[in-house]
């Protein structure tokens, strides 16, 4: 390639059109920013939003456990052995999952260049088991943690 190609020289004289004021203003406004205070508050708000259900669920679970233990103690004192046996093999009758917390742990970029935010989420599995049709209900609450990818739109 010649260093003095007249076509290249002529092309070099062309200057791309300047950004018009409206576009310049628009792009200026699109300046990347760190996570704003509002976004941080949103995370805090979300945690608080889930904190209340978590506390309520834990309270219900504790009270249920307390009552069942109390009931079991009563049964041990006077109930028939058959009832005790059936209570030892409870069957799940209801189950509900509650999202307790969601915490961002990082961002990955997939091979297709799509970024994903990895979220560490914690679930409260709230299960009701009952021994027989008329047996006492037992409520259990266990936690489960997952890391899930969430597609991230970049703007």
């Amino acid at each position: 390639m010649s260093d003095h190609n007249p076509i290249e020289d002529a092309l070099g004289k062309l200057r791309p059109a300047e950004l018009d004021p409206a576009l310049m203003a628009r792009l200026s406004a699109a300046r990347p920013r760190r996570e704003t205070q509002g976004q941080k508050s949103a995370w805090s708000g979300m945690l608080l939003r889930w904190l209340l259900p978590l506390a309520a669920s834990a309270c219900v679970a504790w009270m249920t456990f307390f009552l069942l233990e109390h009931n079991r103690a009563d049964n041990a004192n006077g109930a028939e052995p058959k009832d005790v046996a059936s209570a030892a093999a409870p069957l799940p009758v209801e189950s509900q999952d509650y999202l307790v917390s969601a915490r961002p742990v990082g961002i990955i970029v997939a091979p297709n260049q799509q970024p994903y935010r990895l979220m560490d989420v914690e679930w409260l599995e709230y299960q009701t088991v009952r021994a027989g049709a008329n047996g006492p209900a037992l409520h259990t609450a266990t936690t489960r943690r997952d890391v899930i990818p969430v597609a991230l739109e970049l703007y």
Partner: protein, 164 residues
């Protein structure tokens, strides 16, 4: 986390490199509004991905990918705007002294096949090396270089008789 550019830094970068990026975006999209959308998305994404001021090659490749994504997802809007006859403004700043020659040259550039015009744009106004052009466009280095030569030949033929 990315480094947040200051307002002055961001605007200076836009003034310095924005015209080159916009030129490429307009060649990669069908309408001016699409080009501006793609440009904005690509600038922000490139800055975030590089954690600071991005290399030009990254911005060009991001513009290219965003334009392809837009073309795939937004055909209906393109058709509507094209039917409305959205005007296409000049790609280059007018030069009062050489206006006629520049107009002919601009028309010659616009008449190039997109694959050749893209390489010329990235080489001449994007200041990319052939290696960077190859990476940005996903073609082998030799292909990028030969496309550039073909493009210059095409422009030379189109401008035969014009004093440059």
């Amino acid at each position: 986390m990315h480094n947040e550019p200051s307002s002055d830094e961001w605007r200076a970068w836009l003034r310095r490199s924005g015209p080159r990026f916009l030129l490429y975006a307009r060649q990669q999209t069908r309408t001016r509004s699409d080009a501006e959308d793609v440009l904005q998305d690509a600038l922000v994404e490139s800055w975030k991905r590089s954690g600071g001021m991005p290399a030009d090659a990254l911005v060009f490749s991001t513009i290219r990918r965003r334009a392809i994504d837009l073309a795939r997802s937004n055909d209906r809007r393109h058709v509507r705007e094209e039917e409305a006859g959205a005007p296409d403004t000049e790609w280059f700043s007018p030069d009062v002294e050489e206006r006629e020659t520049q107009h002919l040259l601009e028309e010659a550039v616009k008449s190039l096949q997109p694959i050749y015009r893209e390489v010329v744009t990235l080489k001449v106004w994007g200041d990319l090396t052939f290696q960077e052009i190859a990476e940005a466009t996903g073609v082998p280095l030799n292909t990028a270089a030969s496309r550039y030569r073909y493009a210059l030949d095409g422009l030379r033929d189109a401008l035969k008789g014009v004093v440059l």
